[in-house]
Structures are given as C-alpha cells and as structure tokens.
C-alpha cells in the first residue's frame, strides 16, 4: 500500500534519500564520510545530486547506511516522469 522501496532514477533522488537516511541515523556528513571512507565534502556533493559521482562511491555510502540498490524493471505506473521536486 505504501512505497516500501525507494525509486532512484536520478542522482537527486539518490542524494535526497541518502540525506534523509543519514539524518534519521543521527549522523553528520563527516561521520558518514568516515564510515564510508570518504570526506565530508564528498558526501555533500552526493547529497546535492552530483551526477558524476563514481559508482563505487555511491555503493560505499549506501552500504554505510545499511542500504543497497536493487535493479528492477521500470515500473510504468510509478510516475513515469519525475521532475525531482527538490
């Protein structure tokens, strides 16, 4: 009934989710960077939606937040066009 999985079609989606999760865990960007093996500045860039972030960096940050990617067929129903309302 409610979205149990978080769609992530754009770097901004991913950044937003990372920020939300980090805050939910009470971590600062510096602390998260520490856990993931990157600098605070790097976390900042990711959270603001830098599209050129390296895949390995994203994966490490997700892992540090106990998150992971799943790859699924693009769900036709699920808002076909997302305009990144933020």
């Amino acid at each position: 009934m409610d979205t149990m999985t978080d769609l992530a079609r754009t770097p901004k989606h991913i950044g937003n989710l990372i920020r939300r999760t980090r805050r939910k865990l009470g971590l600062s960007q510096a602390e998260l960077g520490n856990k993931a093996g990157f600098r605070q500045e790097t976390i900042s860039l990711i959270e603001t939606g830098n599209p050129a972030t390296k895949l390995e960096t994203i994966l490490a940050v997700l892992a540090a937040l106990d998150l992971e990617f799943h790859i699924v067929p693009r769900s036709k129903g699920d808002s076909g066009m997302i305009e990144d309302i933020f």
Copy 2:
C-alpha cells in the same frame, strides 16, 4: 518465491545484470550504447564491472534497458557476503 528484484551491491552485479538484460533484448553493446548515448567501449567497461563508472552513465544505461534502481534497507538474510562469482 523467486527473486523479483535484483540485488546490486557491487559494480560487477550491476554489470552482469546489464549484460544479461541487454542480451535478452537482443542488443549489441554498440546498439545499447547508441540508445543510452555512450560508446560501445563504455558499455564494455560497465559490463565488466568498472567500479569508477559515473553514476549518470549507469542511470542512462539502465533507463535504456527499461530498468531502474530502487534503494532498500540491506536485507540481512540476503547473502551477507557476496563474492561476485563472475
């Protein structure tokens, strides 16, 4: 009962899934590259698990295959340590 979502914790997971899907669709790397806006060589690198691929590149390739990322909590049961058998 069967895996409806594809776990993607490493660049190799992602590369393998992209390759499988591309072949299922009967596309060559060059054709996929075309659709996604990249060169055949770039697709080759992705499929072989290059960890430094840019996020935007992966997202474009997934979209060209009608796939997308979902971000979900790391499933404890789901093979905690994946050794990328390929």
